[in-house]
Symmetry: C2
Subunit: 289 residues, 2 copies
């Protein structure tokens, strides 16, 4: 239970964290921080936060939990504003989709990662963004990854873990590098592919028809590609080296498929498609266990 | 209303056509043809077809509607078996996802496209395949494309159109080349990308973890990639030239994104992602009209 939670960035994730904390009796008071007054006012109207501030140093006064929920590209600037008012009694954490970039930004500002900062990543989201899309049950049954550093204080890690568990998440521990590798594959690359496919097709001259007949597979891609561009461009840059490597590997497989089509090699295509189909079954079995 | 419908290939689509025809009073008798007796027996048990034959020439005797529902790569061989028993009083049609390949196969076997063959493509499907997955309402509210040729008999086109409309589909006319272009973009390319992404990731050493954390975007890809490999390898080859062209265009966009990541160019990434995000809104607006 926290006396005062300060949410920096009250959008889909920040708003859902605020709602889930309140719904589970985890917060006496919740203050939001952001750059846009109308959005913060709306968050107050919706009952997501109790009040808001535009200045981070003011907002965090007396807080015992501070959560960064802005796109990861903003973290360094936020850490600079937090540094002069840093409190040893407060738990600091984040909800960013990349973790090495968070550690790098902390080291740049603080020389080393503060013992009371616990990097975390809830695996939950939606193609809708903004506080209007936030939900108190967004994290129930979802994964939340904590990537604690060696020097992270045990009390901080435990408090962060208990907080996510009470909001309904299944918490796992992972090291930073491994986290960024796994999510480059399962999340960052699929999002980029969705963006690039939609971008390719919307520039076709038959644009209207292409969207009319999207039911044949393309619809899922447009849904993924409607995720927040600000957040995703930051993620691309924050996890760039992992992503570029995967994109090059994928280009090779795509080139292999092009070669099989040009060689009229049905067996070659079947081998790849059957192998991929088998993966779905594997995935479904995992979900049941 | 048909006296006898002969369904060649009683899987997801063939089975659903049989169920929808029966449910809408469009068939007095439905005979299935296939290569695998257990599947055909199961189709009879499920009430999808009345009876089955393994020999096409026998099965089509007395039929006034013959529908090809096998993968498009099998069509040429089927046309060769149909040729000696071809009836001028019967409507022949298909449910293949590519249309030029069907016309090419007909020309190869019959010298020209028979006046009573109407090429068609219902835009409906599922990641599940086989007769067990067939449903009588699969086509309700879905599109069905008819790509009639110049010489196609008006009675045949009208009968095919009325049949699909009664099964609940919204019928559009399209020319063959245009059909193959549009569906290369909206359906064939997305399926290949799903297969290639899943294939890439299942070979990673962290396979188990990658599937465990698939909720971040990858899940939709595994669903698409679980579609029938036999059907999709045929589609790749049947619409190869369109597909290869699109895959090369997509490789260029992906390479552009790699370049932007390497140059740390946030604005460049934002431009592409925002442009793609706008396409989703366009798509949703189309659905409402």
């Amino acid at each position: 239970m926290f006396k005062k939670i300060c949410i920096i960035g009250v959008g889909l994730i920040g708003g859902s964290i605020a709602r889930a904390s309140r719904a589970n009796g985890l917060a006496q008071e919740i203050v939001g921080v952001g750059r846009q007054t109308p959005n913060l006012q709306r968050a107050v109207e919706l009952g997501v936060i109790d009040s808001y501030e535009l200045d981070i140093a003011t907002a965090v006064g007396g807080a015992d939990l501070v959560v960064l929920c802005t796109p990861v590209g903003t973290f360094e600037a936020i850490f600079k504003q937090l540094k002069p008012v840093w409190s040893e009694q407060c738990l600091y954490t984040d909800a960013g989709s990349t973790k090495q970039s968070v550690i790098d930004a902390l080291k740049l500002v603080f020389k080393q990662v503060p013992v009371n900062f616990v990097a975390a990543h809830p695996i939950a989201g939606s193609e809708n963004s903004g506080v209007e899309a936030s939900k108190e049950d967004l994290f129930i049954g979802k994964r939340a990854i904590i990537t604690a550093e060696k020097q992270t204080a045990a009390w901080a890690t435990k408090a962060c873990e208990a907080w996510w568990q009470t909001m309904g998440a299944k918490v796992s521990m992972m090291d930073v590098q491994h986290h960024d590798e796994v999510f480059a594959a399962t999340s960052h690359l699929p999002h980029i592919l969705a963006y690039s496919l939609v971008e390719l097709l919307k520039n076709k001259q038959d644009e209207r028809e292409i969207f009319e007949y999207a039911a044949g597979g393309f619809k899922d891609f447009t849904r993924i590609a409607s995720s927040d561009p600000e957040m995703w461009s930051d993620i691309c840059l924050a996890n760039g080296s992992q992503l570029v490597k995967l994109m090059q590997d994928l280009a090779q497989i795509n080139q292999q498929i092009v070669g099989l089509i040009e060689a009229n090699d049905k067996q070659g295509l079947l081998d790849i498609f059957k192998s991929a189909q088998g993966a779905r079954e594997y995935y479904l079995n995992l979900q049941e266990t």
